[in-house]
């Protein structure tokens, strides 16, 4: 039962990943690409948690923490550059 639900969850994460990647690829403006980058990082965090659950290893969660930090810092840096970067 749990395995079936986890497989469904992995399918949902994969579909969300593909949709956000499509937005990143076609994104007409630069801001759309930045949003796509942010959402792709968040979806990757969920994928890492799923991989940690499947492999039963707690060490993987450290990488998810690094990802959360990187998503925040990356968006702040790009937004400051887009604003005019003083």
């Amino acid at each position: 039962m749990v395995e079936i639900i986890l497989t469904l969850a992995a399918v949902c994460v994969g579909l969300a990943f593909l949709l956000a990647l499509y937005r990143f690829v076609i994104g007409p403006q630069t801001v759309d690409r930045v949003i796509g980058f942010d959402v792709l990082t968040i979806i990757s965090i969920t994928g890492i948690v799923l991989a940690a659950l499947l492999a039963q290893r707690v060490v993987y969660l450290d990488v998810a923490l690094v990802y959360a930090l990187l998503s925040f810092l990356g968006v702040i840096v790009v937004a400051r550059y887009l604003e005019g970067g003083q």
């Binding site: 039962m1 639900i5 469904l8 969920t46």
Partner: protein
């Protein structure tokens, strides 16, 4: 108990999928920021909660990641929306009113 945790995890991933769908379907950058970051934050938090129910020994790290996401994600989306407005991202054609641009005209 395991089934409840897995169902909460599945609900989180469904929210993530809906957020990505909104990211694809919304007409302009500001609506995409709304749809993308808010739904994705809720989805990730529900996923972390489901993982904590499935694996009770991991709660400390999952709580740390969840708190970090809860504090930084709305902040980054707000900073990004402000940067989009200042860099002149196009509004959707059906937008009624832009109060931020009016305020800026009043101030200058």
């Amino acid at each position: 108990m395991d089934v409840i945790g897995a169902l909460i995890l599945l609900a989180g991933t469904v929210f993530l999928l809906l957020g990505s769908l909104g990211l694809l379907r919304m007409p302009d950058a500001y609506n995409r920021i709304q749809a993308g970051t808010k739904a994705a934050t809720l989805g990730t938090l529900l996923t972390l909660l489901g993982a904590a129910i499935l694996m009770p020994a991991w709660w400390a790290k999952l709580l740390l990641i969840g708190l970090f996401l809860l504090f930084t994600n709305p902040l980054s989306s707000q900073v990004l929306a402000r940067a989009a407005h200042r860099s002149g991202a196009a509004l959707a054609p059906q937008t009624g009113v832009d109060h931020l641009a009016e305020d800026r005209e009043d101030l200058s």
